[in-house]
Symmetry: C2
Subunit: 332 residues, 2 copies
DNA sequence: AGGAATAATACAAACGTTTGTACAAAGTTC
DNA sequence: GAACTTTGTACAAACGTTTGTATTATTCCT
């Protein structure tokens, strides 16, 4: 491996001059800089990033911690973040938590020990506060949270307008003429789900419906729990559900069908996340779309700019067959 | 930050002893090791990985280069690899190429400059040979290729049994009574697609059909190109297609429907990759399933073991509605 | 031209770890 | 008990870069 010392020796200057020349310091003469650059190219020099990082105390790596990389939402966030960070000269280190608190702690430690320049994080369901995050990162490593955020942590946050989105989805179900609308609410230690639940409640109130907590089903996130909760909802007289996730909605649809109900005539549902299968299944599933790619981009930009605010990325209600009782044709 | 020197000072030993104690060298007394470990814990010491990497000349980072992280196949490979590597104490640096040669070169350089311990790679469509890979990695950084491999490069390779899989898929279409079976063959600079095409051809021959190259459509990989190619295939009298990708198959189904054909009665299709939407759409799409998670695991294991062979991960034909003309009920 | 101000470079110390070699103390052998 | 091995530590250099300070060369002014 050729080092700056090799270049320095070849040119009869010192390594420090070479270093400054290569990093464009104004303290080296234009002429010298050109000579250094030419020699570097000739010798095939490439900066040893590890040594550079050691000296500078930080790296050009940005860590991203997500529950599961193969979830469509998260892989798109990562894709969006990467597109910005890569252009800014950073690279991306991915860690998965599999929704487990311990894995999140370990990932944070790994990133800190690698002296990452920053961390983009969507916390595990298993974490119910951000103390471990604050402790692991200290105040030297900037943090940007996205989607699932702890609002008491410092740093930028990128979220969807969950309240407004769930509000719109619920109102849509009301407008479609469904009588009794329950919700599959997800995990209550995530503020995103809490906000969606609030949006659901507010929409019902604003439409003159009463909010019946007996048809609010929490901890529903996978098809199995969605299925189970839907059966209870049907028993409680529901003819529609707003689901805070698409996978639980999938389970709910199965459940409704197992009772012989027609969708959307007898039973309506709107999911959340706009997973790609929602548009392709039959009946196609209405879903409250997140914008993961844009969230990733915003998170990366927030890291780069160092600004601390909360960025809201709007959601969009995709009305499809599963909730279109009134022959609306605004299918997406 | 507390360093080994701090520990050494606190204990009245030297940093070298602390270093050896912490890495479990037999050259330090059990007693000393315990004292060091206790003091390290007390002071909250954590090894500076960057410094360690610099000294050792390599890091505990494994780079993974994929065309697109948000493609289900690749994100699952990454998930599989990560599950093995994480347990072995490595972490994972992800780079995307977006199918572009230049981006692949840049990613390789980034990884090399970060002194990664190894690289797992599925090359971009835009790369038609592996010279840049060999050059970038030299013989110091081990390479494991998966899915899309250049067979002339050294190092382990993890592939699907593309030939046998495509053979089975094509034979299945024959057995379902389709008369004229074309193929959407994908990109011919990827050996995986070449092998699938060969499997398709061999199956037809073995079934006593003649291979008609005019219904072999290459460079079909997205819905749009699949759609277009399918129209041509229909014009050429095809009543079935084996598609080397699911997305092109999706476009093909649209195309067949646009001609008023019923699926699978008038037109049959089998895709490849078993993307999650294939099972959920209507009619559900038969697909030749890859096993990306397992491929990722195998690639990671190959890196860890350092063995050089080719590992074949079997594909599985998922027969669903889009090719089930004969009332077979082996739906998955 | 002599001195001050400025520009360009050299020097040297870090960053925190690992590891080859040297060294001292303890244990073994005859 | 002297010579020799074994065991445990200390010493010091190295990994390649960055950066504060010192030094030399150049320019500018009166």
């Amino acid at each position: 491996m050729v080092t700056i010392s090799d270049i320095a020796a070849a040119l009869g200057v010192t390594p420090s001059t070479v270093s400054r020349a290569l990093s464009g310091s104004p303290r080296v003469k234009e002429e010298t800089r050109i000579a250094v650059e030419r020699m570097a190219a000739e010798l095939g020099y490439e900066r040893n990033i590890v040594a550079s990082n050691l000296r500078k105390g930080r790296s050009d790596i940005v860590g991203i911690i997500v529950p599961r990389i193969h979830r469509e939402f998260f892989s798109n966030v990562i894709g969006g973040a990467e597109s910005i960070l890569e252009a800014a000269g950073y690279c991306v280190l991915i860690c998965q938590t599999h929704e487990r608190f311990e894995a999140e702690v370990k990932a944070l430690r790994t990133l800190r020990n690698n002296q990452v320049a920053g961390v983009l994080l969507s916390h595990a369901i298993g974490s119910d506060n951000g103390d471990h995050i604050r402790e692991a990162l200290g105040d030297r490593i900037p943090l940007v949270q996205f989607d699932r955020v702890f609002s008491d942590l410092p740093g930028a946050k990128v979220v969807s307008n969950n309240f407004e989105g769930a509000y719109a989805a619920t109102k849509h179900l009301v407008e479609q003429g469904y009588r009794r609308i329950g919700t599959l609410a997800g995990y209550m230690n995530s503020e995103a789900y809490v906000a969606r639940l609030e949006g659901y409640r507010q929409a019902l109130r604003d439409c003159g419906r009463e909010v019946d907590e007996s048809v609010v089903f929490i901890d529903t996130i996978v098809p199995e729990t969605g299925h189970e909760a839907c059966l209870k909802a049907l028993d409680a007289g529901c003819d529609a559900l707003y689901s805070a996730g698409d996978f639980s909605a999938l389970g709910a649809i199965e459940a409704a069908r197992s009772r012989g109900l027609r969708i959307p005539a007898d039973f309506g549902i709107v999911g959340t996340a706009n997973e790609s299968f929602t548009a392709l299944m039959t009946p196609s599933m209405s879903s409250l779309a997140l914008n993961p790619f844009e969230m990733g981009r915003q998170a990366a930009r927030a890291f780069l700019s160092g600004e601390e605010g909360t960025i809201v990325v709007p959601m969009e209600l995709k009305v499809r067959e599963s909730s279109s009782r009134m022959h609306q044709q605004n299918q997406t």
